[in-house]
């Protein structure tokens, strides 16, 4: 009999009659990195929530070291030494690293916290696994990568030996990802068992020993990573063949649609402009991609162009008209479409129905109103058309609340709405963030289709694959400035990484 650290056998869990997990089994060997692969909504998070005690399974058993155990809450999970790094970190911003790590399991003497022992343990652990964490730094002053290492330390501090990583690479730069994967390997070598939840196949191939694939709540299979490849894994995950390379024809740029001149946007930081002296042009029929590590001014640049943030200086010319200080409404009317970075904050009114979200920019048009009275039937008809055309799935169709739709379908709804206004310029900010392979493929096709129709596309992306595959021209942003203009056909991911990290700069003059 094999020696398993954790076994989850025949787990079934339904939500409101819909199975999120249907008879799923997962066996984690001691000291292995076991990947859990699946699209959004495949049931990965549910399965892990059951293991972490957030949900109780309807049926099925969990075994630890061969013995059946019952996990009723995170406290129990901690008792059985199961730890989890959540996708969104659970850290108190104004506490130090040390305080965050000991939070919930403080050593006390007469009710006072004893930090000395804890500090020693943390420093020792940090050195042992090469985590390089400063225990006295405030969380708000640390990088995302560091915060993640603090989360890892939290698990190690509690002597957890089963570590769950929930989509850990979604928020990291390529260099940080590499670092994390190294740490994971080191942890596994020292005897920790790791569950690695992801939908990025490259990372699985890089570190995992075995991989369990889920699809739509069903168990598809478990494979040895050394015996499989990218194509096979993707097919297992999606259930069909997926094209990784975006099929597109030669770019034929036309007239300039958008011209940005020495743009400065102040942003939220006090002493530094988020966007500093940025100039570029976007022409008809090309996809220009702004690449860079998150937080280098891309969001502010996008908000500046779309009118959501005030411009400090510089100018924006759109189709020959200056729109530097125009209202959002005016820009929309002129044919500027915007797929926003944060689909919950900007893209959707979550409490509205899908159909009302689909007309968010069109409700005022003749087609949908008469004497200011909304034509509900017209909206329904239009929504049904878009749902059909863009394959937006939701249980109740047009009347479904946007809040209860899956992330991929929410994004499809936004894209449907933005593309259907027949824009002159499409600004897409991280259009595929957090989506699975199938949805990404669909969105990429739509964006390329817009380009081929002669529209100008300005794409903001953090994903290197997306930048390299989709764009016709790459502009790299670093600390609010454009530091490089690259041709995706003549550059490599490595070179791009160097520009993104700010060590290279090929733009002179203006900057």
């Amino acid at each position: 009999m094999e020696n398993y650290a954790i076994e989850m056998l025949n787990i079934t869990k339904t939500f409101g009659g819909k199975p999120a997990n249907d008879n799923i089994s997962l066996q984690l060997r001691k000291g292995e990195i076991h990947a859990l692969l699946g699209e959004n909504g495949a049931g990965k998070s549910t399965l892990m929530s059951i293991l972490f005690g957030l949900y109780q399974a309807d049926s099925g058993i969990i075994k630890k070291d061969g013995e059946v155990i019952e996990i009723k809450g995170p406290k129990d999970a901690n008792k059985y030494r199961i730890g989890m790094v959540h996708q969104h970190f659970k850290l108190v911003e104004v506490f130090t690293v040390l305080e965050n790590i000991i939070l919930g399991s403080e050593t006390t003497k007469f009710g006072f916290i004893q930090k000395k022992e804890s500090r020693e343990k943390i420093i020792k652990l940090s050195e042992e696994y090469g985590l390089n964490v400063d225990p006295d730094k405030l969380i708000e002053n640390t990088t995302v990568g560091m915060q993640q290492r603090v989360e890892i330390l939290k698990m190690l501090y509690r002597d957890n030996d089963i570590l769950i990583f929930d989509e850990p690479t979604a928020v990291l730069t390529p260099q940080e990802i590499e670092e994390l994967l190294k740490i994971m390997k080191r942890l596994a070598e020292s005897g920790k068992s790791i569950l690695f939840i992801t939908h990025k196949i490259n990372e699985i191939l890089a570190v995992a020993d075995r991989c369990t694939v889920l699809r739509k709540g069903q168990y598809v299979g478990t494979v040895n990573v050394s015996e499989t490849n990218k194509v096979e894994l993707t097919e297992m995950m999606v259930g069909r063949k997926v094209e990784f390379v975006v099929q597109k024809e030669e770019c034929k740029p036309g007239d300039t649609v958008l011209e940005v001149n020495k743009l400065v946007v102040s942003g939220s930081k006090k002493n530094k402009n988020a966007v500093n002296n940025v100039s570029f042009k976007v022409r008809r029929g090309e996809i220009v991609c702004i690449a860079g590590i998150d937080g280098n001014g891309q969001s502010e640049l996008a908000y500046g162009i779309t009118g959501l943030e005030k411009i400090k200086s510089g100018s924006i010319v759109f189709n020959g008209e200056e729109i530097t200080h125009s209202s959002v409404n005016r820009r929309n009317k002129m044919g500027l479409a915007h797929i926003p970075e944060d689909r919950h904050k900007f893209g959707l009114v979550l409490d509205f129905t899908l159909e009302n979200n689909l007309v968010l920019k069109k409700y005022n048009e003749e087609q949908f109103q008469k004497f200011r009275f909304i034509k509900k039937d017209e909206i329904r008809k239009y929504a049904e058309e878009l749902i059909e055309k863009f394959d937006i799935r939701s249980p109740q169709g047009p009347t479904n609340s946007a809040r209860t739709m899956s992330g991929g379908n929410q994004q499809k709804a936004i894209i449907a709405r933005e593309i259907d206004v027949n824009p002159e310029l499409l600004i897409a900010v991280q259009p595929t963030r957090g989506l699975d392979v199938g949805a990404i493929e669909f969105i990429h096709k739509q964006i390329v289709a817009q380009r081929d129709l002669g529209k100008a596309v300005l794409l903001f992306s953090l994903e290197l694959d997306e930048v390299m595959n989709l764009s016709d021209r790459i502009l790299v942003m670093y600390e609010g400035e454009i530091v490089g203009e690259l041709d995706p056909k003549q550059t490599t991911v490595n070179e791009l990484g160097l520009y993104m990290a700010g060590t290279k700069n090929n733009v002179k003059g203006d900057n």
Partner: protein
């Protein structure tokens, strides 16, 4: 005796119906089909109504409990007995139908035109202040300024209705001028916090409270006995400490009854209730059928998305507060133009409760404009029942106020009940008894769990 039996019968019928629903739903679930009840249950509006009803019933039950507790507390000279508690329960549930006591001393029930008419009359301003709060809520604003808007409108309505000589202008036109004058001043009082919120991002709650007290002191000054510019409008029959402004009938201005006094004989009800209901329906149409309502709701649910869609959120905020103020103003106009109501104002005493009561009215109606009509009528029903309790039993007026307050308090739980009905909150008795410190980490984890769950359920 009859009332007591009726009450039992009602309980049995309701319990029987609920059991039937539960049993049929269970059976259907086993056979994998759905009943009409399950289909209706899925609708959001049904859940809203059910949750409101549940919270009302819970409030009523706790109110009854207090009646018993009062009996048990030994007080010197207390006339309370078990019988008064039982009488009290009947009155809390159906005091509006009370028509007195028979020869045996037990309560008798029947159609009481005065009570029902008074209930509608008291509901009139509540409907409008409830709407005022609801409209602001829909736009994501908390209009706690309804009392101030109400008070400002009161003074202007009275001044206009009493100062314009009816010998020159026809009383109907005076009525109309006073009505719209009140609305305008209410809107003015509402628009100030709106402007501050939109342009300077000052929290509307703060400015609304400021405006409340500005209004309170301004009105005190206007009707001051010595220096008030409108002291000529004071009724000289008032006592030394209490000053009354003339009723509007003093100038021959009053809301017409339009036959309502024939249906509800002897009560104060007038055409105002119809106006309030029409306004509620109008607001419903504006919010749900027009592009303007679409804009307001978009701003209310997600300001950023509204901005992104090109909607001017600042204008939305200002206009929404103006409408909210105008509605609170209309509440005061309708109440004081009734002709049989007098305005007594003492320095710094308090702000009009009817303004604050708009908040529970709106909450109880889940901010639905037409719903406010029903919740306002319900709250004035409680008022009327409370008065019956005061007159017909030894319970004093303070107890009745406390019980009414408790019922209103519990009615604000409707949102909680709705979340429970939606399965968003699971009641776990074990968790409640757990120590708080243990809960903190868990609650954080649970929050993510619900987020994850949302993603799972496509």
């Amino acid at each position: 005796m009859a009332g007591w039996l009726w009450f039992l019968l009602q309980l049995v019928i309701i319990a029987g119906f609920v059991t039937y629903l539960i049993i049929s739903a269970k059976k259907a679930k086993q056979e994998n089909r759905t009943t009409w009840f399950m289909k209706t249950w899925e609708k959001d509006s049904v859940k809203s109504i059910a949750s409101s009803l549940m919270s009302i019933i819970l409030g009523l039950l706790i109110g009854c409990l207090i009646l018993f507790i009062m009996v048990l507390i030994p007080t010197q000279g207390s006339k309370l007995s078990m019988k008064s508690a039982i009488d009290g329960i009947q009155l809390i549930f159906s005091g509006i139908f009370n028509t007195g006591r028979n020869a045996n001393g037990s309560l008798i029930f029947g159609f009481n035109s005065v009570n029902i008419g008074d209930m509608l009359f008291r509901a009139t301003p509540l409907i409008l202040t409830g709407l005022s709060v609801a409209v602001a809520f829909k736009t994501g604003l908390f209009n706690i300024g309804a009392p101030g808007q109400y008070l400002a409108s009161t003074s202007v309505t009275l001044i206009l209705a009493l100062s314009i000589p009816t010998s020159v202008v026809h009383p109907i036109f005076v009525w109309i001028i006073a009505f719209f004058g009140g609305i305008l001043v209410g809107a003015l009082w509402g628009v100030v916090p709106g402007i501050f919120k939109a342009l300077l991002n000052v929290n509307e709650v703060i400015t609304c409270i400021m405006m409340n007290w500005i209004s309170a002191n301004l009105v005190t000054m206007l009707f001051d006995k010595q220096i008030g510019p409108f002291k000529n409008l004071l009724d000289p029959s008032g006592t030394k400490n209490l000053a009354y402004v003339f009723k509007t009938t003093h100038n021959g201005v009053a809301t017409p009854k339009l036959g309502l006094d024939l249906i509800f004989e002897g009560s104060q009800v007038n055409f105002g209730i119809i106006i309030a209901i029409v306004i509620a329906i109008l607001i419903h149409i504006i919010l749900n059928k027009t592009t303007f309502g679409y804009q307001l709701k978009a701003c209310g649910s997600n300001k950023n998305a509204a901005k992104y869609a090109g909607i001017n959120d600042k204008v939305c905020t200002i206009v929404s507060m103006a409408i909210a103020g105008g509605l609170a103003g209309a509440a005061a106009s309708l109440y004081y133009l009734a002709g049989n109501t007098e305005f007594a104002w003492e320095t710094y005493q308090s702000l009009p409760a009817v303004g604050f009561n708009g908040i529970p009215v709106a909450l109880l109606a889940c901010n639905h404009p037409v719903g406010t009509v029903f919740s306002a009528i319900f709250i004035s029903l409680l008022d009327v029942n409370g008065m019956q309790l005061k007159y017909m039993t030894p319970y004093n007026e303070y107890i009745t106020s406390i019980i009414t307050a408790i019922i209103v308090y519990f009615s604000a739980f409707s949102l909680l009940f709705k979340q429970i009905l939606n399965g968003k909150i699971k009641i776990n008795l074990k968790n409640i008894f757990k120590r708080n410190s243990e809960k903190t980490v868990e609650t954080i984890e649970k929050e993510t769990a619900t987020e994850d769950k949302k993603e799972v359920i496509e």
